[in-house]
Each structure stands twice: as C-alpha cells, then as structure tokens.
Symmetry: C2
Subunit: 366 residues, 2 copies
Amino acid sequence: MLKFKKITQSKKTKARAGVITATHGEIKTPVFMPVGTLATVKAMTPEDLKSCGAQIILGNTYHLYLRPGTSVIKLFSGLHNFMNWDRPILTDSGGFQIFSLARLSKLTEEGYSFRSHIDGSLHMLTPEKSIQTQLVLNSDIMMCLDKCIGYPADKKDVEEAAELTKRWAKRSKQAWDAEDRKNALFGIVQGGMYNDLRIKSAESIIECNFPGYAIGGLSVGEPTELMTEVADYTLDMLPRDKPRYIMGVGTPNDLVRLIALGADMFDCVMPSRNARNGQLFTSAGKINISNAQYKHDKERLDEKCECYTCKNYSRAYLHHLYKTKEILAYNLNTIHNIFYYIILVKKIRNAIIEDKFEINRFLMPE
Amino acid sequence: MLKFKKITQSKKTKARAGVITATHGEIKTPVFMPVGTLATVKAMTPEDLKSCGAQIILGNTYHLYLRPGTSVIKLFSGLHNFMNWDRPILTDSGGFQIFSLARLSKLTEEGYSFRSHIDGSLHMLTPEKSIQTQLVLNSDIMMCLDKCIGYPADKKDVEEAAELTKRWAKRSKQAWDAEDRKNALFGIVQGGMYNDLRIKSAESIIECNFPGYAIGGLSVGEPTELMTEVADYTLDMLPRDKPRYIMGVGTPNDLVRLIALGADMFDCVMPSRNARNGQLFTSAGKINISNAQYKHDKERLDEKCECYTCKNYSRAYLHHLYKTKEILAYNLNTIHNIFYYIILVKKIRNAIIEDKFEINRFLMPE
C-alpha cells in the first residue's frame, strides 16, 4: 500500500517536499517521471535512467495494451521484469491516448470504443478494463480512466466530461477495492479551465478517498498563465496529506512554478521528444544542437551540467552526431535532457528542505 | 612506433596469437575491430564497446573527411578526443568508399577525383592526401590508399589496379617517412583472385617494409571458398613477424577459417549492420528477432552468451522493441552482435595459446 510522508512545507511558497513509499521503492517528491511509452524511455537503457537519477517512470497503458499486449506482459508478471526496470512505475489509464491518438469510435457511459492507430482494429476500454490492464502491467501507481477535453471547450461539454470522469472514478475505485490494493490508484480531477467545475470535480474525486490525486486536462492548448492559474486553485482543493500529480506538464519553468504551488509529481514527453529533435535544455536556455554555430564548438553542452553527455562530449560532437542522424545522438541528447529535468527538480527539493526555495533562482532564460 | 609480438604459433593450424603495441594501448591478436564509420560505432557508446571487449575500432576516412571534416577533428587533435575513445583506432584510406559509395569522377595516376555521396561536391584524394587526412584523425594505424576491384574482373584490369596500388604504396610510404611515424602505416595487397597477381602485389608491397600488411579486394562478391583460397595463399606470402589484416571480412565462420590460415586482424560492418536489421548471431545459429515465434519467448537471446543484452533482456522484449522500432532495439541488438564477434575471436585466441584450436569447435551452424 502506497504511503506519502510530507517532510517539509516551504514557508515562502506552497511548495512541499515529501517521500512516497511504493511497492518498488521510495520516491522523493517533488519528482519528475520520464515517460516510457512502449516499455522503454526512448533511446535510454535502465542504467542510463538511473545515472540520470530517475526514481520512477511512466508507462502508457494504451500503447502497451496494443503492443506488446497483455498476453506478453503477463508472462513476465508485469512491466518491471519485461523491461528490466526495478524502481517504481506509474501507468496512465489509456484515456488520454484515446483522446489524442486513436480513432474514437464511440464514447458511451460504459467506456471508450476505439480503433487502434496501428492497425485500425476495434477495442473497448472501460474503467474496469483499464484497471485490469494496469494490474497486468503491475505498476506501483495506476490511474483512473477519465475523459480529457481540449481547449477551448464549451462549459457544457467540460461539465459533462467531468461528470463522466466522476462516475468512472467511482467504478474504478470499486474495481480496485475488489483487488488486494498492492497497486495504488490515483483519482483525476477534470473541469477544464472553469473554477466552479474544478471545485465540483475535485470534491467528487476526493470523496473516493484515493491514495493520491492528479490534475488532468492541463497543457491541452491553453496559455501558460491560464494553466498555472487553474493548477493553483485546483491544487489548493486537494488533500495536503496525499501526493498531487499534474499530468503531462511541462517546460522546466512550468515545473518550477507548479512546485511552488504545491505540486509533487510530473511527467512530460518534452525532455525526451525535444532531445530527439535536437532541442536541448541548458542553464543558459534552450539550444538547437543542429545550428551551424556548434560545428566547431569544443565546449560542453552545458558547462554547469554533470550528466554523462556533458562530462564526456562536446557540442561539436553532438552537432556532428545529430547532423549525420547517428543513433548515438538520440541517446546522448535524451540523457542530457532527462538529467536536466531530474536534477532541476532535485535541486528544488533540496532548496525546499533548506527553506531556500525561490522561483526566480530556478527559472531558465526563455 | 607500432610493435608486434607473436606469442604462440598453433601447431595444428597456421593460426597465431600475438600482441600489437600501438600508441593508445595493446591489442591482443587475433582481433575483431568494430566499424565506427562516422566517429561512432552505430548505436553504441564507448562504454558499450568496452563492455563488449573492443580493443580497437575502425574509422572511415572517406566519411570523416566529408563529415565532420578535418577542420573539426583538428580542434580535438584527432578522433580519440572527438569521440571519447581512448583505445587504439585504425583508419582506412578512403579508397574503398570511393569504390563503393562515391560517384567517381576520374581516376588518374595522381589519385581519385570524386563527388561526395552527400552533396555532390567535388574532391580529390591522393595517396599523400589520404595520409595527411589520417594524420589529422591521428589513428594508431593508417592504411595506404589502394585501388580495389570487384568480382568478377578481367585479369588485365586487376593487374592494372595492383600496379597502381603498388605505385601508390610507394608514394604513401614516402609521405609517411616524412612524418614522425608515431602513427603506423599498413600496406595493402591487391591482385584479385589471381595467384600470380597476388604474388606480384605482395612482393611489391613487402618491399616497402611496412609495420603491417593487409589483404584487400576480398569479400567483393566472390564465393566463400574462393575468398578463403585467395586469403590462404596470400597470407602465406606475408611476413610472419608483422600483423596480417584481412579487410572487410566477414561472417563469424569466415573469421574462424581465416584465423586458422594465419590472419590476425578483421573488420566488418556485418555484426552492427545486421543487428540494426534484426539479424542476431547466436551459438545456435542466426535468428531474425522480428519473427513472430519470439513474441512470447521468455528466454535469453543466446543462453550461452554473457553480453549485457542477454544477461538482462528476453527475446520477447527484443522482439517488441524491434517491432515497435524503438531506438533501444538498435542499441541492445548491436551490443549482442559485437560481443558475439569479439568473444568468438577471444575464445579462439585462448584456444590457440593452449594449442587446442580446431576450426570445427568454433563454427556456427549455418
């Protein structure tokens, strides 16, 4: 059973530092979780992830359900053995990928009927099926199936989505209660960019008494200021003694600001995806390694960074690998960006514990 | 200055075990050299290479001359610092890639005039220019520019190519003699599949008294038996107190047979290229990891293998990564195949030293 212990409450901000105890180990919060969509964080070995300080990774239920499929994962008693990762794993419910990726066939009270983006085959995902699938994946933290909605959206649509999310949360909880609850289950607050709908949604989800709470439906196209504002008042509604997870967010600066508002957990494809596109995060700002200015640049990518890539390679070498599309480019770039995110959050945690956390000290030049 | 010390001469075969002392360290022979075309062995870090037991890698002068270009490599005083590899490097002359890859504009006594396969730009490669370029790369072992010829070929063409190779070898030697000779230079015997031409070529190259000798122009389309036959009589012509390198060969079984004939050094893209195509070498023969039969296969790729990939992952996981085109697939597959080649040659070396080397013990089922 998952436990959360709050260690420090920052006095200057709403930030907090804590420790989650999950089946596969402890997670010091705030924490950034690299995204391992298909049972691999793209271009990284588990050893690479550990060298970056990764404490927990995220797996995508939608993707893993389609490939390799639960029949394969079952053979390994879960994702950990299959992919050789022995630290905690969080899995999402599959709902967001159906929203963003699959061809949605039909949405009913029962669940999503959708067609695979791979081969067009027809599948059904219900709250109960999502739990069952995540139990096969055997993740430390499972998520309730929810209905995400884009931005902008009519209030009526947002309200209906939040209502459905509420009913699905109750069904998810029931399905989970029927199990041994070794795998934790988090509820998700929806409600779009509407304060009153977020309140209603939060109340209905908190009623289920989950071991942790997530805020969904952010970073779906809204301006950063609005995202921060919604996150702020929604975080305030969530219990203080449970982990608070903001899903699918964001830039390094988003993380700094959201931690200051009391968020504990984050996941985002940005560091890994941008790495593969040659965009690298440094203490001096973002750089695009494909730029000709780096061709003869003997310096480290980031002089302040202690990641494997920065300690061993130059900008000129990374530029060369990227321009020649060498596979090593994706590996080295991803190691750097993931390390950048994780070390940023780790430094913020240390600052919170010493009560020295100030947003401005951690913002990156934009 | 490069040194070669013969440790053991097998009594049952012509195989020998030795040690080459190069600027960046010792190389125990026989040795397999992974190919690092563009300042990276594709999909591997230097640490991966070391974990596979790589003692020396090969760089391709043609490719490196075009990208990143000598102006970049100069900044790092050579390839070693640029790519973070501190063990020996052998570079080829560039001639073979002009033969196989570039659009040849004109071949004259002076050298090759060719167009880049990247952007069509016009370049000139002479024996002297090849040495100068390899000196910038600062490889431990440089190769003379030669003229390779395909199979089948008219005897007259083969003879002309061997004659030109001879004259270029003398020019290469002169260019090298003008340097401090810290970087060793190997001569290359050509002569196609003709015994008398191989004799003539070998004699003319040996006359230059190089620190080592290579056999070029093999594995260019001829049957394996013919390749082995030509290698056999050509190896017999080469000095016993110098390393003998067979260029661009071959399958694991080719290596076993050629070591038995007295060859010391090999390079081949086969283990790395085939890995990226899903073809993996195992003690039970070659397998294609994309085959559906591996989808639910919990076993190691090769039960007898101690590589990182085999120790940590299953066939089912490798199958999944390969089918989903995950970058990690190329990394894990390459580690296995490179390890397979290197450990094979290492085991043969140990058997030679114990005078227990027999070809049949080391052949892979075909």
